[in-house]
Structure formats: structure tokens, C-alpha cells
Symmetry: C2
Subunit: 314 residues, 2 copies
């Protein structure tokens, strides 16, 4: 369930005019922008973008970028963009860092339906004149490259069918692949299974793994000395297996980091507010004995805080 | 340029009726079927399939499968199918052999635009309740798997942009990747470049390679002792670099094999007759001193021969 509260009646033209008004003159009226965009759903925001372009011959996102600043600007611009564009922007940003943000990349790939993943890749090609796969492949090496290029290239089957024999066989394959000498590992088979099987089949295989070996596959992976690749791999598996639980954990880590990880925080709130943030909030509360709203209130400030709380349904 | 000759005026209903008539009673009138389907373009065949289904509540392809036999049946059924379906069928067939037909797999992946490749993968998922990638990955191992899964998963950028710096750098990378000790090779970088870069960029890199090292990359690859993987890799590169020349070569090998390779022969004629078979014919004649029609006439028989010649414009 979504957390966003959007009015049924709204006028894209009035909204566009109010945003323009907030941008005119000395300083920007952030609260006015926020009170519009923080309460409009994806389709309404699209109409506002179109109306804004039509009336002022200006791109709304570009205008917002020039008026706002910091993480507030980033979050509002991501939110105002179309979802495929937004994910393409997150992917591009993740690749611009000195060490790519592997987790953001695995998350935007593993959390999507095959058609949504494709829409994101199409948006990326259109915006950046490269394919996402080629940029990821040329910014990474070794195991992490195999994993990332695999999950991004995936065009999985989506049906409900489960092949029990395959689940059985591949549970064993996964087990063999991570129980070598404990230090060296190849993981070709693991990555093949993870990046090509349908999510339904993959979940069946992971369940079978637990049945046979008495422990979850991700727990078993923890036995191997941790590095960036293994941490990303575990995230990818968790994101496929139980996305809501996964997102609740990302939020916990982001909020409890020494310096709040606002990049991850905005990413999760912005991408899930219209999908399943209500359930994620519930899981967060159960696990952390504090509501997500309270946790965010304690660790963020100013317009950024107000914006996140608006998306959370405040 | 295409070779197929199709009349402008045609009636899908009459065609469907004529095919049905040819199937009724003892024996099948292959010539009647051939004289219809051998002279209809892709859109016309689609209308005939629809009309046939509408009038007889039967799938035309299923009917043809039960009436015809051998390679003639296979070729006619491939031809009568929609192009995405046809390629999905070729991919599926290639995987059913004891040793998968790697070349057919690399060909159907490398010869397509990103959107056509996607349409084929969508058709495959729909027909076989698996993704093509997962079936390829689970039927192959090692280098050949990396290569095939890579080219099939690719969703390349399609624009005309070339980055000269990248071309330069990656020409060197390709060179380094195949000039190790000559026996062991990793090819991770080579496969990355081949499977993720846009075709335009890839051609620029291969040209740069020739400029720097004085020989083509595929010629350089020939230095390494040949195995199935390397042969398939060379095919993939040739298929991307110059598809028409590549197809002319496949035809030559298929026709000159000790036993004519009808699988490859039908594949090329059926998939290219509406695209560029006229140019391929010309290249064939120039290289082999015999016209493609004459070569096919000498090495095939009966209805199958007549059908191929019809698609060649006879």
C-alpha cells in the first residue's frame, strides 16, 4: 500500500502557476513547491510537467534544479520525474561516484518487473546516449561486474510456473558454488541462476535451499569473509526475495549511519511512496521500535524533512 | 534489397481456402501451398493466418506441420510464422540439440536491432514459459555461455555517436585480451565490449584495431587454436560487422558441406528473403563464381528446392 495522499480534484494549470509563482522574485518559496508536488500522484505530476512546459516553455525539472539545492533539490527532482526517468537518473548518479554505488544499481534492477526494468533502460539510452549495461560494464570489473551486468540485462520470465526439479537441482548448485575452499570462489553458476531465472522460480529454489540445508542461502553466504561484492550479492537476493523487508532494512541502515545516508533515504522514500511504503513503514516499526516518521524526523532537517514526511502521508 | 516477389492484389480468404483445399483428401498438394505462401510478404501471410483461423478454427502453422514433412515442412512453417515467433522457434530448436547450435543462437542475436531482439525474447517467453537467456544459460557453460548470454541479453544503444577515445582504448583492450600466452585466455573484457557497446561504436573499435595493428581482429583471433567457442565468437563479430557478407559465408558453408546443412540454409533464406537477400545473392555470386540459385538447385531437391527458389524470386 502507498503512503502518498493526493487530492482527487486538482488543476495542473493552477499547480504549474503556483510553482512558477514560488520561483519568482528573491528567494524561492520552498514550502509552496512542496505543498503542491508533495501531494500529487505520478499521473498528476506528469500533467503538471506538461502544463508547465506548455505555459512557460521551460522544463519543470530544470527549473526546480535551479531553484532548490542540496538533497532537497535532488529528492524533489527525482520525485517529479517519470518513474523510468527517475530510475535512469539514479543509475547514472550511481555510476558517477569514484566507486560506483553498487547497491543502488542492484536495487533499481532487482526490484522491478521485467517491463519496468526495460522502460528504465530505454529511458537511460535516451538520456545518456549509451546503454546502462555498457556504462555499468565499463565502470566495474570481476565478480561485481558479472553480477551487475547480469541483473541489469535480465529479461526474466514472469509466469507463476515453478519447476520443482530445477529448484532442487539449483539449490544444490548454489550450495556447491559457495562451499568451495571458503576463500576463492567462482560463482558463475550462482550468478547464472540469480540473473536468469524467473523470480518465482528463484524463490522456490531459495526455499528448497533452506529445506535441504537448514539455513537460508544469504545466511550461508555470510560465512564467507565479506567484501563489497558479497554484500551487494546478498542485497540483490534479499531484494528479490522479500522487497519490503529489504527496503525496511535499507532505511534502517541509512537512518542509523553515522552521517545519515540521505541518498539512500530519498531513493527509497521517493521510489516506494506510491507503491508499498505503508507496508515498509509497518515492518520498520516492528523491527526498530520507532516509527519511520519519528526516525526520519530525528535525523533530517528543514524542507527536506518536511518533504519526506509529506510523501510518508503526513 | 529483398528477393521475394509478392503480388499487390491478393485475397487472404481465397488464399486460406486454397491452402485448405490443398490439405483435404488423400495426400497434400504441396505445389498449391507453395504457390500461395512462397509469394506472400510478411503482412500478407499474417492476414492469411488470421483468415485461416477465422474460417476453419484451426491454426495454420499446426495444419501445415501435420500436412508437410522434413525440411520442407520446417522451412514453410518458419516462413509462415511472424518474424519474432520464427526467431524464437529457431532459438528453441538450437537448444534442443545434444550440443546446442551455438551459431544459430549467436546469429539470431547479433543480426537484430535491439527492439527486434526484444520482440524475439518476448515471443520466446510467451511460447516456452521461460526466458531465452535462462535456457541458454542452463544449456551452456564457460566461455560460450558468457558470450551467448551476453549477446542475447544485450539491449544496445542504437544512436550514430562514436567515441573515438573509447574506440582507441578498447582496440587496445581487445588486443591485450587475445595476446596472452596464446593458450589460456580470459576474454572478460572482449566479451564485455562485444556484448554491451552499440554496433556503431563496436565497428569503430574494430576499424581502429585494424589501423593500429595492421590486421583485422577476427584474423588475429584465428591465431589462437580453434575451438567451438572461438569459432562462434568470430561468427558473432562478423555478423555484427558486415551481416550480408556473413550470411553469404553461412550459405557457402551450408551448401558446400559434405551433407548440405539444410537447417542453416533454410534459416538464412527464410529470415533474409524480405530483407537483404538480393545483396547477399550478389556477394555469393562474386565470391563463388556460381549464382546462389544454381548452387541451391544442385544441392537440394523436390518441393524444398522449389520453395527456396520461390523465396529467391523465381
Amino acid at each position: 500500500m502507498a503512503t502518498l495522499i493526493a487530492p482527487k480534484d486538482f488543476s495542473p494549470i493552477e499547480d504549474a502557476e503556483n510553482i512558477k509563482k514560488a520561483c519568482l522574485g528573491w528567494g524561492t518559496d520552498e514550502m509552496a513547491i512542496l505543498s503542491v508536488l508533495g501531494h500529487r500522484n505520478s499521473f498528476q505530476r506528469k500533467l503538471i510537467r506538461i502544463a508547465y512546459e506548455e505555459i512557460y516553455q521551460e522544463d519543470l525539472i530544470t527549473q526546480l534544479q535551479s531553484e532548490l539545492s542540496g538533497e532537497f533539490e535532488r529528492a524533489v527532482c527525482l520525485w517529479t520525474s517519470d518513474s523510468a526517468d527517475r530510475d535512469a537518473m539514479i543509475g547514472y548518479e550511481a555510476l558517477q561516484k569514484a566507486t560506483p554505488d553498487y547497491r543502488a544499481l542492484v536495487e533499481i534492477s532487482c526490484s522491478k518487473s521485467p517491463e519496468d526494468l526495460l522502460a528504465m533502460k530505454r529511458a537511460y539510452r535516451f538520456r545518456y546516449k549509451h546503454s546502462l549495461e555498457e556504462d555499468v560494464a565499463s565502470h566495474t570489473t570481476g565478480h561485481i561486474r558479472k553480477l551487475l551486468v547480469g541483473v541489469i540485462s535480465a529479461y526474466r520470465y514472469e509466469g507463476p510456473e515453478i519447476n520443482e526439479k530445477t529448484a532442487n537441482l539449483e539449490a544444490e548448485i548454489l550450495h556447491d558454488d559457495i562451499h568451495g575452499d571458503g576463500i576463492t570462489y567462482n560463482h558463475d553458476e550462482l550468478i547464472r541462476v540469480l540473473t536468469t531465472r524467473s523470480k518465482t522460480q528463484l524463490k522456490a529454489t531459495l526455499n528448497r535451499y533452506k529445506d535441504i540445508y537448514g539455513t537460508s542461502f544469504t545466511k550461508d553466504l555470510s560465512g564467507i569473509p565479506v567484501n563489497e561484492y558479497l554484500a551487494t550479492l546478498r542485497m540483490g537476493i534479499r531484494c528479490i526475495r522479500d522487497p519490503k523487508k529489504y527496503y525496511a532494512k535499507v532505511l534502517r541502515c541509512a537512518i542509523n549511519a553515522e552521517i545519515t545516508d540521505e541518498t539512500a533515504l530519498s531513493r527509497v522514500i521517493v521510489t516506494r511512496a506510491e507503491k508499498d511504503l505503508m507496508d515498509i513503514k509497518q515492518l520498520y516499526l516492528t523491527r526498530n521500535n520507532i516509527s519511520l516518521e519519528d526516525a526520519i524526523s530525528q535525523h533530517t532537517y528543514g524542507d527536506y524533512k518536511t518533504f519526506l514526511l509529506a510523501l510518508l502521508g503526513n
